[in-house]
Symmetry: C2
């Protein structure tokens, strides 16, 4: 019988710029009696990563453009927040009815360029990490240095989706695992060869982690997923999870 | 420390029309030493449900239309399969480059109307269950009758998504739990009130279950998720997870 465990990492202090997030996660995991083990997948929210990296912006210090001010006023939004969202965007998918769906500088399609107000103090917002794969890899290396354990790291964000209501967590940074499991060529119960199946396992792991992370009032910025046999990789990038433009069959 | 367990249910026989799927899952769970408990979430693949309900079609007995034949020939597909996909569709989102994205009769947007060739014997395909919420509720009631345990049931399917590569599991039928967690009004770490957050927990649970279910060669059609504090509901429908037409901000 295979069992996968999803363990919330509690008791972390509030994350501040310059914090060694890997160390805080390792210590908190140790303290609660679930020290990190080889082949764990560590899922960390992008807000925690961006806070530790100082990748936050004080909205009080942002000078909104004429366009940001006009859009904010028409839709009852904070002009400084609109300005930051626009600055983080490489393109705009839709800006309508007060909502802003953008392509981030990394290439992710999401609401508000991933700029996040929740769990950030004062009038600050957290941007997405500049290089989420690089952040994931640094955390992975630091965990290895501190504990000797070989893990995979996923940095998660909360995304809305076309067609479906509600948000789910997805992977925006990965290190140490292949984010897609390519199942083409595998056989099913009856020997039928699967033809067009790739599973976005890093997104599924991020969603699984959200089941323990998603408690805004409790402050759980990280989860350990134990017992999932991921495919190791040293070169994977979360952008493998983004469909190349022009290849989208839904749009 | 909160821990969620995802337990694959192994050792089920091949599912046949008329099988009592709830009973088979309960027995297999018991046999592997993880009997079903109160407040478990039982995730079952739609293929297993449709096979038990006899909601399968023999492609050898399908007479494809002129249109289905032409599309199949142009794109090297099985005309009978194209015909079944079209018959299961209420509308077509896109039919292009050999791929067919439809709106199913239930209202789900997905590839091939959810018609599934994998893990079905011979030249049969599994359709989506006619009433996935009803199927989930029946399984839930039967588990209650057999074991006395109060559980939630999710019927899962594997969906591709716009913008992102790879497929993930989502919920197409639910019973006993609210599929969306409405977090508007909840406060974050710093007392900031979350404004527009609804989490699609049933989809996240389905994705978490896929981490153990998604082994085509091992035949794991069901998973038990234990330790997740879901919000109980007697009236929820998986269609709550489908965005009403005209309200999609991405499209």
């Amino acid at each position: 019988m295979d069992t996968i465990q999803i363990i919330g990492v509690r008791g972390l202090p509030l994350i501040k710029p310059g914090d060694n997030l890997a160390k805080l996660v390792c210590e908190a995991a140790e303290k609660q009696g679930t020290p990190i083990q080889d082949e764990d997948v560590i899922v960390i929210t992008h807000v925690a990563v961006s806070k530790a990296e100082g990748h936050v912006v004080n909205l009080n210090e942002v000078e909104p453009s004429w366009f940001a001010k006009a859009f904010a006023e028409l839709h009852d939004k904070d002009p400084a927040l609109v300005e930051v969202v626009l600055r983080e965007a490489k393109g705009i998918v839709r800006m309508f009815d007060g909502k802003i769906i953008t392509e981030t500088r990394h290439g992710f399609i999401c609401a508000n360029s991933g700029v996040d107000k929740s769990n950030v103090p004062g009038n600050y917002v957290a941007l997405l990490p500049k290089d989420p794969d690089g952040s994931a890899e640094k955390i992975r290396q630091e965990i290895k240095r501190l504990t000797g354990k070989d893990v995979a790291v996923i940095i998660s964000d909360t995304h809305g989706r076309p067609f479906r209501e509600g948000e789910i967590n997805v992977a925006i940074g990965v290190a140490g695992l292949k984010p897609l499991r390519d199942r083409r060529g595998e056989k099913d119960l009856f020997g039928y060869t699967l033809r067009v199946k790739q599973t976005a396992v890093a997104d599924e792991l991020a969603s699984a982690a959200e089941l323990v992370i998603g408690q805004a009032d409790e402050g759980i910025p990280a989860a350990i997923i134990r017992g999932y046999k991921f495919i190791k990789s040293e070169e994977s990038k979360a952008l493998e999870l983004v469909r190349p433009k022009g290849k989208d069959l839904f749009l």
